[in-house]
Symmetry: C2
Subunit: 290 residues, 2 copies
């Protein structure tokens, strides 16, 4: 641990971990993954661990932050095999380090019944972009363009429980490139976990602006029926952001597409504009986990 | 928030919170509280929230740290009333601030069944004592005396679920006084969550020393049958520490008793010495939560 992550002064095993604090602002987030809510029974534990870690790392990316360290908990159904508990810990550590985020502490506990749902939490701590710019949801300004990375929809296959929600790549490199290149001109950002409709509405509300999405511009994953499905499905973990800069169509070296999908105006609310000019409220579209 | 805790740059509500990092080393811990494991059904939500916060704060105290900020999760049984969820959040925030630890983020999610156990986690972040001394479990040295604060045993009434485990006071002030007064002569420390027997054995093992406890010296709570019960019961959340300094019998201004209960020697293991000289292995005594 010491060699790879010199800021970790004391790793797991004591009452607390000890970590050298970052120079810049610290970003903090915690998220949960619950069986039969965020993944189906029988999902490989490695993918469950991956999702738990990736969700919190994605929140760091959405602020333009870089991972620093993390802590995790597992609440295990009664009778959960020790070998499975060990494998889960190994997988959580592996995935955290995959995103350069040393796992410095955690807690495993047993739940009272075998039917209790396996429940993981990951607390992730990041450090702000070296410029000091922390991209919140509240910075969108009238005149901004609205952009989204990647393509949307169909992340969680309801029939099988499989899909990108288990294998998505948190957009750390994309966010870092945006801030390296455009700095404070990246005004507002969020990672799409509850669907474009709801999450765009969150930026509009936090920023006190009106967001208008061009329905035809929404990038849909192959197999997604239409823009409504793409905007209503959740668990995309793509970045939605606003900027007054002219952002290119893909992130250099990574190749992730970036699509301009709308505009920010004065006023309030969040709507989709259809081809004929019809406006549809977007805040009502959205994803209820399981 | 900003006025009371100026290091909190951005509180709950965005993808992450933003916090100014402390000047010294950061201490990090996470712990869980699970219904029917750490508290019985019907326990007042205010006390459940209190316990969840206090357990993690107690881990900070055990390193000599001061609370800086915290995050929490709640995994709620299906059908959990919104008013109860709101009350839980208010209580978690209240208790965290009671110990000067602003709650900067969190996540609430629903569990799949009404029978799923209410499960809370609290991640607490602290800052090391101003001297820079971080008291681990690994610092005990032959020649040290072993001390414990308060009295032990009977914290969790199995029949009713009530007891000190719901109302204990994390030993922040006691730990701060110890480090203010005796500095690096406080060699090792742990908070007693799994019982004196197991936790003393943890210090012995981490430090590579032998700990001998004088059974007659163990301070028992009224109603606790004998030293075995006191050493085997868990959830005391008292501080167990070793030092080569002569520590007074109570903490000034707070009045918490401090009792010398044993010695550290060369060798390995952790034993209790009875009046007649018999030695009993202590590592096997201990507390299984529920």
């Amino acid at each position: 641990m010491a060699a790879a992550f010199p800021h970790v002064l004391l790793g797991p095993g004591d009452d607390c971990a000890a970590v050298r604090p970052p120079g810049g602002a610290m970003l903090l987030t915690v998220d949960q993954v619950i069986e039969r809510r965020h993944f189906v029974p029988g999902t490989a534990l490695d993918l469950v661990a991956r999702k738990a870690v990736a969700r919190s790392i994605s929140d760091l990316a959405a602020m333009g932050a870089t991972p620093w360290c993390a802590l995790a908990t597992g609440a295990l159904p009664a009778g959960f095999a020790q070998s499975d508990a060990d494998a889960l810990c190994v997988a959580i550590k592996k995935w955290a380090e995959h995103w350069h985020c040393p796992m410095v502490g955690g807690d495993l506990a047993s739940m009272p019944d075998a039917a209790s749902p396996l429940t993981l939490t990951v607390t992730a701590i990041g450090v702000a972009h070296p410029s000091g710019h922390v991209v919140t949801r509240a910075g969108a300004m009238p005149g901004d363009q609205v952009y989204v990375t990647g393509a949307l929809g169909g992340s969680f296959d309801r029939a099988t429980g499989t899909g990108r929600h288990l294998t998505f790549e948190p957009r750390l490199r994309e966010a870092a490139w945006l801030l390296d290149t455009f700095g404070i001109r990246v005004h507002a950002m969020i990672d799409l976990s509850d669907g474009l409709g709801r999450d765009a509405a969150r930026i509009a509300q936090a920023s006190g602006v009106r967001i208008e999405i061009d329905a035809d511009a929404i990038p849909c994953h192959p197999g997604v029926a239409d823009w409504r499905a793409a905007a209503g499905d959740g668990e995309d973990y793509e970045l939605l952001f606003t900027s007054d800069a002219d952002i290119p169509g893909s992130v250099p070296s990574v190749g992730t597409p970036v699509r301009r999908i709308g505009t920010v105006g004065a006023g309030r609310g969040c709507v989709a504009r259809l081809d004929g000019g019809t406006l549809i409220d977007l805040a009502g579209l959205g994803w209820d986990h399981a």
